[in-house]
């Protein structure tokens, strides 16, 4: 099967700061790949280049086999195929919860109003927020806002979901509800590439964990292997720092 995402030799620098020095990474359909690494190791940058929010300096990005790093690629069409959730939710404060969730369906995918409403409400029901459909985002707790942001990202059934530290702005007691939702997305077959500092959660949902260091993939493998018996000293050192 064609991988959903193929990153080939991705290079990205900010001035003299060489953040990504040749990243090769495939994400297969229904696979959950978790990026870990020290702060500044380039996790967010890798996710942003995938969504064409940052332009790469070299390499190639294929989405379901299509070269989306080609300058002739339609950037908006590419982004419409990828869902993104940010650390700070970034919901639209002037739109109701339901309108936030259905905006892309209405304006990008041009579905009929009726269908958008139905899909939006169904999705809100699934994340337990049907009662808040007509509220404005500022009325919700952080955890609820982040769940709405996830609903907004998955509403158009994207081929790939990018999650960038979606729990790190949340109070500890709200982290659980958001992570549970991600676990449920995995169950329902979403393809996910995510960056996180929650090693425990990575163990729970990841099919594969990728450890980034110095702009390259230092080590990757299934959670049990990478977390319990890392093959490289750098990985072990990083894990001992974040786990204690």
């Amino acid at each position: 099967m064609t991988p959903v995402l193929q990153l080939r030799g991705i290079v990205k620098s900010f001035g003299s700061n060489h953040v990504l020095r040749g990243i090769d990474l495939d994400v297969s359909p229904h696979e959950v790949v978790v990026l870990i690494g020290a702060s500044g190791s380039g996790k967010s940058t890798l996710l942003k280049t995938t969504n064409l929010l940052e332009r790469i300096d070299d390499g190639q990005i294929l989405l379901a086999g299509d070269d989306i790093s080609d300058p002739r690629a339609d950037v908006d069409a590419v982004r419409a195929r990828i869902g993104v959730v940010f650390q700070h939710y970034n919901l639209f404060p002037h739109l109701t919860v339901l309108d936030n969730v259905t905006l892309a369906l209405r304006r990008v995918h041009k579905l009929a109003r009726q269908e958008c409403q139905e899909r939006g409400l169904a999705l809100l029901g699934r994340i337990g927020l049907a009662g808040q459909a007509r509220d404005y985002p500022d009325r919700l707790s952080g955890g609820q806002q982040q769940r709405v942001a996830i609903a907004r990202a998955i509403a158009p059934d994207p081929e790939l979901l990018l999650l960038d530290e979606i729990t790190s702005a949340l109070d500890p007691q709200l982290v659980g509800e958001v992570l549970d939702l991600v676990a449920e997305l995995k169950q329902s077959g979403s393809t996910i590439l995510m960056a996180t500092h929650e090693i425990g959660f990575a163990r729970r949902v990841a099919d594969r964990i990728v450890f980034l260091k110095d702009g390259t993939i230092c080590e990757q493998g299934p959670p049990s292997q990478l977390l319990d018996s890392p093959g490289r000293a750098e990985t072990a050192e990083f894990l001992s720092r974040v786990l204690h």
Binding site: N51, L53, D76, A77, V78, R79, A80, R81, I82, V84, F86, H88, N90, L91, F92, P93, H94, L103, A104, R107, V108, Y136, D138, R139, R152, P156
Partner: protein
């Protein structure tokens, strides 16, 4: 219920209110009544003082007869009202023009990237020019300059020329207000919109502009009210609007009451919008934020 103290785990009956809370509510009611009383009293005192000073000033008799003459008031009202209708028509068209041009200019000025430098430069020059130039000068230049070009054989209506001048001047003000609003919207909002696959233009229209406009509604309404008044200046081009109609009456009677009529009508025109702004702003705040006590 007497006080807030209860046994652990005991459920409060939320229908009943404690004496403590009842006392607080009574106190707040008394305070509110007192504030209203004080402000009413001071308003009355102020009005009486102004009235006494006016009536006792040496020229009051003459002033009253030349500015506040009920007979001339009744006479002037129909013509001035007709003139005001023209002002309203010009205003309605100009507002649409201002909205379109201002959004375009603000949009251009907030474009990023060196490719757009020439466009940005032109837009900046436009706003600098028309914000700096007195409206009266713009009116004269457009009102007498465009016909002088002789582009058509027909006579260009002065109301059209006045509308163009209004749009030129006010779109430059409004564009700057909008641009400030656009810049006050956090870049992450645009990022989120683009990530959904919305185009640059769609992000601006659906996500950035609505938030920008909310942030600057008071300033926009301020410009609108100011525009309502300046629409009276088209009389200098010879349009028979409210001001010109009043002028004609004054010239016939040597009584200034028609000016007062026109002035009051302009106030009456802008007042609903001023109140509307306050109401809209308040509703916005209630809806989108948990206000708390501050």
């Amino acid at each position: 219920m007497t006080g807030p103290s209860r046994h652990p785990g005991e459920r409060r009956d939320l229908g009943a209110v404690s004496d403590l809370e009842l006392g607080r509510r009574a106190y707040r009611r008394r305070q509110a009544a007192r504030s209203i009383g004080i402000s009413l009293l001071s308003t009355v005192v102020f009005a009486v003082v102004i009235g006494v000073v006016l009536v006792n000033s040496p020229g009051w008799q003459v002033t009253r007869d030349t500015f506040f003459n009920p007979e001339y008031f009744r006479q002037a009202l129909p013509a001035v009202w007709q003139g005001l209708l023209l002002n309203i028509r010009v205003l309605a068209v100009a507002v649409v023009g201002v909205a379109v041009v201002a959004v375009a200019i603000a949009g251009i000025r907030s474009l990023k990237g060196p490719v757009f430098f020439p466009l940005r430069f032109l837009a900046a020059a436009y706003t600098d020019l028309f914000r700096g130039m007195p409206f009266l000068i713009v009116l004269y230049l457009i009102g007498f300059g465009i016909p002088a070009l002789g582009l058509t054989d027909q006579v260009i209506p002065v109301t059209l020329l006045g509308t163009i001048a209004l749009v030129l001047t006010y779109s430059s003000y409004v564009a700057e207000v909008l641009r400030a609003g656009i810049e006050a919207v956090h870049p992450s909002q645009r990022l989120a919109a683009r990530s959904l696959g919305l185009s640059h233009y769609a992000s601006l229209r659906l996500v950035v502009l609505p938030q920008a406009v909310r942030k600057v509604t008071p300033a926009l309404m301020n410009d609108f009210v100011s525009m309502q008044k300046d629409v009276g200046l088209i009389s200098v081009l010879g349009a028979v609007d409210a001001v010109r109609a009043a002028q004609i009456q004054v010239a016939q009677t040597y009584n200034y009451t028609p000016y007062v009529v026109a002035g009051l009508l302009f106030v009456a025109l802008s007042w609903p919008f001023i109140r509307l702004t306050d109401w809209l702003t308040a509703r916005q705040q209630r809806r989108e934020q948990i206000g708390g006590l501050v």
